[in-house]
Symmetry: C2
Subunit: 273 residues, 2 copies
């Protein structure tokens, strides 16, 4: 089994894939989320794992676009806690670090730790935590460290200098497992839909939500996103509780279809939170 | 007058600020969106310009958080077309370029141009288009080029090797001008609100939208975003047509306030699109 993930190797998408597939399957990294989805649609990989939402950063626009436009279904959601470690080459010591490399967001999340422990270190911005680890590993300098997930140590032969260095509350990220088909009904499911109204008549969204409210279907997420045609022209993304084969969900979706210009059921899958 | 912007110098936030303030005012760059908002709240700058939404990438989570939690108001929205140019040192020639530096998104948007014109060039990812331009300017190598907004040429003493190299349709980005107060009524206004329901009772969002639908107030945007307390616990962001001093908007907001645990009117400002 092949599993496409948003690369490079060792990022949180790979951790999510390993968690969900219990370490089985061959991981195939792709440079962009759209590439992962297209590989799934073409059958080049059996499943693809991409981030969709972070507690701290919000939704991932590229993944929402993929749900709207690519021929893929959501088969599962995977929730992964994001935690950062300071990683150095073997033999490196925390107090000797003078350069810290990472993605700007990871550097920001670890600002407090850096100020207390490495206030004189130079901070170098990289485009991903994995690229930072790769760089430290390649240059083999004991004064350099990367910030990223602990799992990077195996891939790049590094060691953990300090674990859990991010500030504040836990940061959870939600990933989606994309495949050619969605999941069977379990009795505790969620369904994701995407629609486009093609009218900005006041109240149209209200009427659509009425299809769910009148059937007491709980919505767990709603988001509008520019349709890429013009700013102010929106696609809507809704997550709701229930499986698309549940009688009341079925009826609600028939109602929604009548009120919209485009409706795509992106998939039903077991509810994980 | 001082205007805080999301830095570094020369990024699209600065272009938006210059467009809105017609070149007047001193630009003060800050490393993060939250820093810009806090500087506005403290009175360190008179206004702050931050990105809120891109046609291609969707909403900027950090800006939505700022609207919910920082003591700032939206005074204006500013829409800027994003267009990329290939920038080199003075005397550089397109056909001699062997390294292209830019933000991964800009490199992706210019993939077609690069494949046709610089298929053998090495692509180097930087954390911003401005950092890429700065690097090219610093190293003064005729074989290096950066991709970014044309406006970077003045800041970094570069020249445009080729303009408008991005693929596909226009990409517009919407920026917000934050200040201590919002804008006066013009008759063609928008209002942004943030609220939190503190209940996941099915239909609560439907009831809230009813306050607007029943008064024929058009919503131009709706988005839910994790409240940072737990995944699945959401803040709602709505943009609606009208000024908070319009009678029907006033009445709707009174109705919304009764149904929510927290409501913040982030500001009313002239509608730009």
């Amino acid at each position: 089994m092949k599993i496409g993930v948003l690369g490079p190797r060792g990022t949180y998408a790979e951790i999510a894939a390993r968690t969900h597939f219990k370490g089985k399957g061959e991981i195939v990294p792709y440079p962009m989320i759209t590439d992962v989805a297209k590989a799934v649609a073409r059958g080049e990989v059996d499943a693809g794992v991409v981030p969709v939402e972070s507690l701290r950063e919000g939704s991932v626009g590229e993944t929402l676009d993929v749900l709207a436009w690519e021929d893929v279904k959501i088969q599962a959601e995977i929730v992964v806690p994001i935690s950062h470690a300071l990683l150095g080459v073997k033999g490196a010591k925390l107090e000797k670090i003078t350069q810290v490399l990472s993605h700007p967001q990871a550097l920001a999340q670890c600002r407090e730790f850096l100020r207390k422990n490495l206030s004189n270190a130079e901070l170098i911005e990289m485009t991903s935590t994995a690229k930072a680890a790769e760089q430290v590993s390649k240059l083999k300098q004991a004064h350099m460290a990367a910030i990223g997930p602990k799992a990077l140590v195996q891939l790049y032969e590094l060691q953990v200098l300090r674990d859990e260095i991010q500030a504040g509350e836990t940061n959870l990220t939600r990933f989606l497992c994309l495949a050619k088909t969605d999941a069977k009904k379990t009795g505790r499911d969620k369904t994701s839909i995407v629609f486009y109204t093609a009218t900005d008549r006041p109240g149209i969204l209200y009427e659509i939500l009425g299809e769910f409210a009148s059937r007491r279907i709980n919505l767990t997420k709603i988001e509008s996103r520019p349709s890429k045609k013009a700013l102010g022209d929106y696609l809507f993304f809704i997550d709701l509780e229930g499986h698309r084969e549940d009688q009341k969900v079925k009826e609600a979706l028939i109602g929604v279809r009548k009120k919209t210009a485009m409706l795509k059921v992106a998939g039903s899958y077991p509810k994980k939170f």
